[in-house]
Subunit: 203 residues, 2 copies
């Protein structure tokens, strides 16, 4: 098994942190996205969408999409549980992971890709106005999240899950996206400091 990895870019990092939480080691093939290596013939042959990460199983099966890769490992190595226990809990974790993607990581990534000068070659056409629209969307969601986190420790309940990984990585990605950290949201900040202090976050 081999994991074509894009380093600290948000989606590759989601899988890296997930694997660190599970204590799973996978052989990695580093791909330098700064050098556009994710558009190489080798990566394109595995994933015509040219996104990372890409997991190649020993039988040659190719799995792309961070959460699909996480699900593969969750099914094979359930402990520690990161994607829910029973039907109700799995649904709650999926809901929160998607809420973090659609309302937080997505807007932060859009702000980054559509306003950062380094992204001109990546996001064609780069529409600064679309990037700008997304900054307040991310912050509006964090205000709602702050109310939620008044009543519990982690995003999807009393246990750390994949939704915390998505959220932490989106939060870190606010910096290159030039979105100010919402220091006034005490519950969000307490949650972020807690998840960012885990050993997996150093990955």
């Amino acid at each position: 098994m081999k994991l074509y990895d894009g380093g600290r870019a948000p989606n590759p990092r989601r899988v890296t942190v997930f694997l660190a939480e599970k204590g799973i080691e996978v052989e990695k093939v580093p791909v330098d996205m700064g050098q556009m290596e994710h558009k190489s013939a080798e990566v394109t042959g595995l994933n015509p969408l040219q996104t990372l990460p890409v997991l190649v199983l020993d039988d040659g099966t190719v799995i792309t999409e961070s959460v699909a890769i996480c699900r593969y490992f969750e099914e094979l190595h359930p402990e520690p549980v990161l994607m829910g226990t029973d039907a109700r809990d799995k649904a709650i974790v999926e809901m929160w992971n998607r809420r973090m993607e659609l309302n937080f990581l997505g807007p932060v990534a859009a702000a980054f890709r559509h306003t950062h000068p380094a992204m001109k070659e990546w996001e064609v056409p780069q529409l600064a106005e679309w990037g700008e629209v997304n900054r307040p969307k991310a912050l509006a969601f964090l205000k709602l999240l702050d109310l939620e986190l008044a009543g519990r420790e982690f995003i999807a309940g009393d246990r750390y899950t994949i939704a915390d990984i998505t959220g932490m990585i989106a939060f870190d990605f606010m910096k290159p996206a030039r979105i100010e950290r919402p220091d006034q949201l005490a519950n969000v900040m307490r949650w972020y400091q807690s998840v960012a202090a885990r050993p997996s976050a150093a990955k």
Copy 2:
């Protein structure tokens, strides 16, 4: 259990088709999105993000996000399997469902929301340029999908799955989004005609 339903809008319809494929009946609370009822105090109280559908369990647990609702039913009623069998198959279905969302339903919805006059109140600010950028993105993905579908019957393999539901609904949504149907993509058209002929598609 009650399902707050938004009718034929894409996300509510994903759950409706999924339940029809499973043969599951759930009590529905119709919400008229044309009348902005998804912004009512009742719906907002259940889901501050004001999106539909919303599933309320008998114990009061609220599940939002179409795929999270689908996962709840998949876990409780595995047959017919719509989200994968073993670790590898679940990962493949998740990969394809996300590819259909990120590269097809997402761009089609962006084109609709940012260019359709009826969406002016919904998508603030409406950025026509962003809508226009998304039309060719959807079509470029369908070209890749056409190559994939040369070798198999359904999106994620030889079995109908949730990825076919997402794809069919995105395909139908091209019409209001004013994206021309790609009649030249023979494999995509064969796949679409097959999934659109299932009884669940009439929902």
